[in-house]
């Protein structure tokens, strides 16, 4: 060991891997209904929704908590069973 080893951890998306795997239910946005209010984006604890022109879910990381669906004022998000 030449150098002193230090417990340094660098910022990484997916620090624990693809947490999409944890999901039991999967949020699916019905863009027909969606008003682009971005409340789903605001309340996603995982930062797994991108605020583009419309909200886009990062399925690699979304854990399927369902908050977005629960908070969407127009119920534009459905939680469907993951297969």
């Amino acid at each position: 060991m030449k150098e002193v080893l230090m417990p340094i951890a660098y910022p990484t998306k997916g620090s624990v891997g693809n947490t999409g795997l944890w999901r039991t239910l999967k949020p699916v946005i019905n863009y027909e209904k969606c008003t682009k209010c971005f409340i789903c984006w605001m309340y996603c604890p995982e930062a797994a929704i991108l605020a583009e022109d419309k909200p886009v879910i990062l399925y690699d990381f979304c854990k399927g908590c369902g908050i977005c669906a629960n908070e969407c004022p127009v119920k534009a998000i459905n939680m469907i069973k993951e297969v």
Binding site: M1, L5, P7, I8, A9, Y10
Partner: protein, 391 residues
């Protein structure tokens, strides 16, 4: 370099000042208080550009030093006894986080019952933590070892925090002439603290100390172990360089006092060393081939240097101002282990002395050495408690 009448504690404060410490966070405890009082005064009076954090406990004192060191500041604190125990968790933290911090420990017995007098168990009980541990014999060495301590601790092959310990009252409050180096000499010896790879920085964000799974954790511990071994060289180099700049060799892993041809070697640490040297001189005059090996650094334990020092001796007397209950003195354990590890064959006697300030006279030391010389001591299995009442 003016000679000043300084107590061990004031010598420590001067050393920290000369080392240009940037953050001092400390909590009062007898017999450490004079150190931080003096530093508070230096800082309040503008003689030292540093922050003094008047923390609410020792746990917080070490935490504040850790926080300061983590962003790259030179931090110093001091404590004793209960205070050291109370900050113990943070000692482990400082070492595990590889932060160079220097701490003065005025050794003091542990309660209950309350005692404010010297006993090495407080600092020795922290011997596993990954801190480098030095013992000073007198006020001059307190000063010299603290200044060297920063350099050793900040060496980037070491990067471990460092304790300089000295005896309560015998050194902490005893006033002696101390040769105080000039600031420019110290500045040359000890440059400004540098930024390390692990110094926190908003420009280069990382998270420090996250959970490490079994596949990763062990190597961090090995690295501390490894750096401790490397510190041995660094300690010797620093002592040599300090000597070059100040004209005073006052450092290094051990002190070999007439051991080379000795049949009996006494081993000890701290303030009793002066008395032991006087006794050795006296016995030498009487033809007794006795030597004294002073352990200056208990961590890393100087096994190789010690082994060399006692190579030719038959009998070893280890003076411990501490006891590990259910075993023996911590120093004696290390000495025995060294003897076994190096494949030497020696009779090693453990002596417990001075616990909680129990008085020891030169006569007592002399008696034991003479007894050992005459092979009149009991089996080494029986630990000898010096000057114990009614047992």
């Amino acid at each position: 370099m003016p000679v000043m009448p300084l107590s061990g504690n004031h010598a420590a404060a001067y050393a920290a000042k000369l080392s240009r410490v940037e953050v001092v966070a400390a909590y009062p405890i007898t017999p450490q208080t004079q150190i931080v009082e003096k530093l508070a005064e230096f800082i309040e009076k503008g003689e030292l550009k540093a922050k003094f954090i008047r923390v609410e406990s020792e746990h917080s004192a070490m935490a504040a030093c850790i926080g300061a060191a983590a962003v790259g500041a030179r931090a110093f604190t001091a404590t004793s006894s209960q205070g050291l125990l109370y900050m113990s968790e943070m000692l482990w933290w400082a070492a595990g986080a590889r932060l160079p911090i220097v701490m003065g420990i005025v050794t003091r017995a542990l309660a209950p019952p309350w005692s404010i007098w010297s006993d090495h168990i407080d600092v020795l009980s922290q011997r596993d933590t990954g801190w480098i541990i030095a013992f000073a014999e007198n006020a001059q060495e307190v000063l010299d070892l603290i200044i060297q301590g920063f350099k050793i601790s900040e060496n980037d092959r070491v990067l471990l925090p460092l304790i300089v310990a000295w005896d309560a009252f015998d050194v902490s409050h005893t006033i002696e002439p101390v040769d105080v180096p000039n600031q420019n000499v110290v500045d040359e010896f000890l440059p400004k603290r540098r930024k390390y790879r692990h110094t926190l920085d908003v420009e280069n964000p990382f998270s420090y100390g996250n959970l490490a799974y079994p596949k990763d954790y062990m190597e961090f511990r090995y690295s501390i172990y490894d750096s401790m071994l490397r510190a041995k060289d660094v300690i010797e180099q620093c002592a040599a360089e300090y000597d070059r700049l100040t004209g005073r060799y006052s450092g290094g892993l051990i002190e070999n006092y007439l051991c080379d041809d000795a049949d009996i070697v006494a081993i000890a640490m701290g303030s009793i060393s002066g008395d032991l040297k006087v006794v050795v001189d006296k016995l030498r005059k009487q033809g007794v081939k006795v030597g004294f090996c002073r352990i200056r650094y208990f961590r890393p334990f100087p096994s190789e240097a010690l082994a060399k020092c006692i190579e030719d001796a038959k009998t070893i007397l280890v003076f411990d101002r501490d006891i590990s209950f259910g075993s023996e003195g911590a120093l004696c354990l290390e000495v025995r282990a060294t003897v076994n590890r190096e494949g030497l064959d020696k009779r090693v006697y453990g002596i417990i002395y001075g616990i909680g300030g129990r008085e020891v006279r030169q006569k007592d030391l002399e008696n034991i050495i003479v007894k050992a010389y005459k092979e009149e001591l009991n089996h080494p299995r029986k630990l000898l408690w010096l000057n114990l009442k009614h047992v």
